[in-house]
Subunit: 156 residues, 4 copies
């Protein structure tokens, strides 16, 4: 997907997504930041700090994947009306290189938005020496629900 000025989302979408992101306890606990919201694409950044590392001091695959998963979910939400939610059905991620540098950036991009299922590409970049480097790549399947989360049962 190419992105141009008209890919900017309107204020309602932006506020809705920012409000949802603010409710994600994990994102707040990790220190993740929602940095870009366009139609079908969302960026989330995470600073490298001891709280998100694995045993060698690199960012843990789980933290890398967590922000990628959220980026994909919100990328899908940019395309849906209010009161719609998405649940992650599954995702797959390859870790290509350790995250060197002071932060990483996950980019979720909608490949196909369907009536029920939406498929996103997930990419995570690091910035060693100021250069952008792909450190993780994946793919995600999302399930669209009108009003999720109310009863704790499986809704797929």
């Amino acid at each position: 997907m190419e992105h141009r000025d008209q890919d900017q989302v309107n204020a309602e979408v932006r506020e809705r997504i920012e409000a949802s992101f603010a409710r994600q306890g994990l994102m707040r606990h990790l220190g993740a930041r929602l940095t870009q919201i366009t139609a079908g694409r969302v960026h989330i950044e995470l600073n490298s700090r001891p709280e998100v590392t694995q045993q060698h001091g690199y960012i843990h695959a789980g933290a890398t994947s967590a922000i990628a998963d959220s980026a994909g979910g919100y990328a899908a939400l940019t395309l849906f009306p209010a009161n719609t939610e998405v649940l992650t059905v599954e995702y797959k991620v390859n870790l290509l290189a350790p995250a060197v540098g002071d932060h990483i950036e996950a980019v979720g991009t909608v490949l196909k938005a369907g009536r029920t299922l939406t498929i996103c590409r997930l990419e995570v970049f690091a910035f060693p020496d100021g250069q952008q480097r792909l450190i993780a790549a994946g793919q995600q399947t999302l399930f669209r629900v009108p009003d999720p989360g109310s009863d704790g049962t499986q809704r797929h």
Copy 2:
């Protein structure tokens, strides 16, 4: 894999894995606990609390995956000699049901340990009303390295 008494690992393996786990800043930050170490299988538990949730109050797929990823990695390490490490090449996880209850438990089990690559099955359970329920299932590929983490370069 069936597990019997002889699947218990020796003290050296147990201490090595516990020490590595203690260095995983993310696991500590999430509040994850290493609860069982047998040959080719490791269990990690995570309590449900606001710091690990998504926007509806359920445990975030990223947190679920993070402990599953660590469980698989340590399951592989139980089969390898000291000074060996593993890196996650990739994993895929399906989220089957929301995590209802006060904690979840990830179980990583080695399906095949190879010279270079090890494949694990990943399972995550919740315990609503005291009953064990599979809430996530996945598969993971790990890369075995003699001495990783020393130079920050890609070692695959």
Copy 3:
């Protein structure tokens, strides 16, 4: 899932699945055989022959995956009423070892059957020297549809 006598499917289910399998041009073209149908689990076998190989004479990952994908789809169908169909949303497979021996056997097992989505475990075995050996392992997401295939449009 353990399997016992009561896991046998009734004649209607068996006939329905055999008829559907017979319409899969690819399975016929590969020479695949539907060998076992129980509730939530289906076996498909494939003989090793030049028509299904890659460049070194082993069975091609694509052929291995094709029978695994069909085994999972039919495993799901055993649990659904007539006039229901399933479409593959996605699958992931690890190739663990080359297929040595005169045939391979794929086993699809339902991990969770939901209203819309069903998740299956996929396993493929070879039989070198008469011993069963796991050569591929994967996971599959299926989409349940009441009456698919009639209009050629995306139905997810």
Copy 4:
């Protein structure tokens, strides 16, 4: 990856890949054609015909995946010296839409080529009404070996 004139591979690479493709019994049996070879990217086409279908007459996910898997493997081989081979470690593919039209085209693109592991993006397109449409998207991990296939043992 952008592709320009200098992405053309030399005659040795082209001949090596065409010779390997010609030895893939499955590709020949399916009627697949190697249509484009550039550095880090390979295209394979498959005509829609009864021998490659599932039960509703669409191209079987297994056939779609098989040509995608081969396209990724050969994309990696374009970057490696003679006498190198690759084995598929794993792949994941989402089926986005049924294959409508007279043929499909799989494109494998190297995302990262490492010493041991190479990661490819897999895409498959259909051409309904002359328009290109993404019908499958996936990701693949390959293992590089100097001289595979000689002994039938696991080489990962």
